[in-house]
């Protein structure tokens, strides 16, 4: 069945082996009375029709591609943080001189009950390369386990190590013995 012929590049011109019906179908249309004076083969009409065809093909492909690309873009995170208050714990859970990492929505937050200024909270994501910090009772400072960064528990400022910036503060609200984190 395979015919050993060199393929004609895309244009349905009259191939020598075409059957008569096909040859008639693909031959240029005979000139009609309404043909413009451009010539017997109406090149402007043919060009217009071919332009329409190309436009239809491109539009179809665009109409298929656009929803797919839009679909692939993830929606904005709706629950990244929680507005309102998150209960971090009580002063019994986090006694003075200790600290704990809790989740505020999906954001890790470190709560430190400082002796000097009471409960303070900061984003627990180290500003160096993104590891989660912990509280070190021994040195009473916030430390990062990855590269030894140290932050002040009262201000979040960098004490030592590679972090380039202080930890972002989080508003704390104390009601009775309950420690709340006020988020945005």
């Amino acid at each position: 069945m395979p015919v050993a012929a060199v393929p004609v590049a895309g244009v349905p011109g009259a191939a020598p082996s075409a059957s008569p019906e096909v040859a008639a179908a693909v031959a240029p249309p005979p000139p009609t009375a309404a043909a413009p004076a451009a010539g017997p083969a109406s090149p402007s009409r043919r060009r217009f029709v071919r332009y329409l065809l190309g436009f239809s093909i491109v539009t179809t492909l665009a109409l298929i591609a656009a929803p797919i690309i839009a679909f692939l873009v993830p929606p904005k995170e709706l629950s990244a943080g929680t507005s309102g208050k998150t209960l971090a714990g009580t002063t019994t859970d986090i006694p003075p001189g200790s600290g704990k990492v809790v989740a505020m929505g999906s954001k890790p937050t470190i709560v430190v009950n400082t002796a000097e200024q009471g409960p303070k909270a900061y984003s627990a994501i180290c500003t160096h390369l993104g590891c989660i910090v912990t509280y070190d009772d021994q040195s009473t400072s916030i430390v990062c386990p990855c590269h030894g960064g140290k932050f002040s528990p009262t201000t979040g400022a960098v004490i030592s190590g590679p972090p380039p910036a202080p930890l972002a503060p989080v508003t704390v609200s104390v009601e009775g013995d309950q420690i709340f984190l006020v988020g945005s």
């Binding site: 050993a4 191939a15 679909f71």
Partner: protein
């Protein structure tokens, strides 16, 4: 053997003839392969109605939309339902992708059935095309298993209980039924294990299997060509009567059919988007649980006859269907020369359509006809 010979540029560095096309041809040798694949002839009397090509196209649509859905779908009982709801409401065009996936699934089964009927009534399965038919019946079976496994994935009440009912029916198969039920469910009940299993089958096992069977099916069609609905081919080989070109004329005809299908899918998805019922509750069976429309005929049949016949007859029927080209061996392909076969097939088809209508609520059968 002169030193100058080493200084001549090697032939690979000279520019290839023919520009871009020549560049590709010299690096792949693709021209010979594409000529063999594309430059075949179609008998002008062939009347495929493009159903097989549409089924292939719908599979490609399913593979595409299914892949997109799999980027957001979570296959666990806790997360599946919400992930589908999220696809429908949070993700851009998620409703469109999911609804197209839903409708293309139904249309694919419909067009595979149309394709089977066209081939059957034209006698296009006869010598030498018996194997194409056998692989085609396999493709039909895989398409239905696609539908069955995919149906569970949204994990809503309808999905869950239709799967319970469907796997119960599988469990009623004689001898292997119990083992089959446990194998399908991943346990004795429909649980998260069932969901994992169905997801893996739907997304990995079945696409690979279908691709392999489809490759064989299409290769054989390419090798043997389209059948002539007026008379059986005297000997296998290139078509003897007047022909037309596969490429580009027949290919363009197929593309027009595919374009219409895209339009139908988008309209259906927009007017009848895929829905969701309540989240699956294993403790509460909703009223009127029934399978999807393509299983309804067997389901209704089961209600009317003893279980053994209800399971047995569809299985026997499927086996007969698979080996049909070896049962009907006469060289007649015209319907008026195969009156008995056509009558039998019409009766079976009518019965199947009637039972499907019963299942959908269009007809009712008097209660006394139901078996116990």
């Amino acid at each position: 053997m002169t030193a100058d010979a080493d200084l001549r540029p090697s032939p690979d560095l000279t520019p290839a003839p023919g520009g871009a096309g020549g560049w590709v041809e010299s690096r792949t040798g693709i021209r010979e392969l594409s000529a063999a694949l594309l430059h075949v002839r179609i008998p002008v009397e062939a009347r495929t109605m493009y159903f097989g090509g549409i089924a292939l196209f719908l599979f490609m649509v399913q593979a595409g939309t299914g892949t997109l859905l799999a980027l957001y779908y979570k296959p666990t009982p806790d997360a599946a339902y919400d992930s589908v709801v999220s696809i429908m409401s949070n993700i851009s065009f998620g409703w469109l992708i999911r609804s197209i996936h839903h409708w293309a699934a139904n249309l694919m089964i419909l067009f595979v059935a149309f394709h089977l009927l066209r081939v059957f009534f034209q006698g296009a399965f006869k010598r030498p095309r018996e194997l194409i038919w056998v692989f085609g019946v396999g493709l039909l079976g895989i398409t239905m298993v696609f539908g069955f496994t995919g149906y569970l994935l949204p994990w809503d009440q309808r999905a869950y209980w239709a799967t319970v009912v469907g796997t119960e029916i599988a469990g009623a198969v004689p001898i292997v039924g119990d083992a089959l039920l446990v194998l399908l469910r991943g346990g004795t009940d429909v649980t998260g294990a069932t969901l994992s299993r169905f997801f893996g089958i739907h997304v990995l096992v079945l696409p690979i299997t279908l691709a392999i069977l489809m490759a064989v099916h299409l290769t054989l069609v390419h090798q043997l060509g389209l059948a002539n609905p007026k008379k059986i081919d005297p000997v296998p080989g290139p078509p003897t009567g007047p022909t037309r070109r596969f490429f580009p004329e027949y290919v363009l005809d197929e593309l027009i059919a595919w374009y219409l299908i895209i339009a139908i899918l988008v309209v259906l998805a927009s007017i009848f988007p895929a829905g969701m019922e309540a989240k699956a509750n294993p403790l509460e069976t909703p009223p009127e649980t029934k399978p999807e429309w393509y299983f309804l005929a067997v389901y209704e049949f089961l209600k009317m006859v003893p279980k053994l016949i209800g399971i047995g007859w569809p299985m026997v029927g499927l086996a007969i269907l698979t080996v049909w080209p070896f049962l009907e061996r006469s060289p007649e392909v015209l319907m008026r020369r195969r009156k008995l076969v056509v009558a039998f097939a019409t009766v079976m088809l009518a019965a199947g359509l009637f039972l499907t209508g019963v299942g959908l609520g269009f007809f009712t059968i008097p209660a006394f006809l139901y078996f116990a």
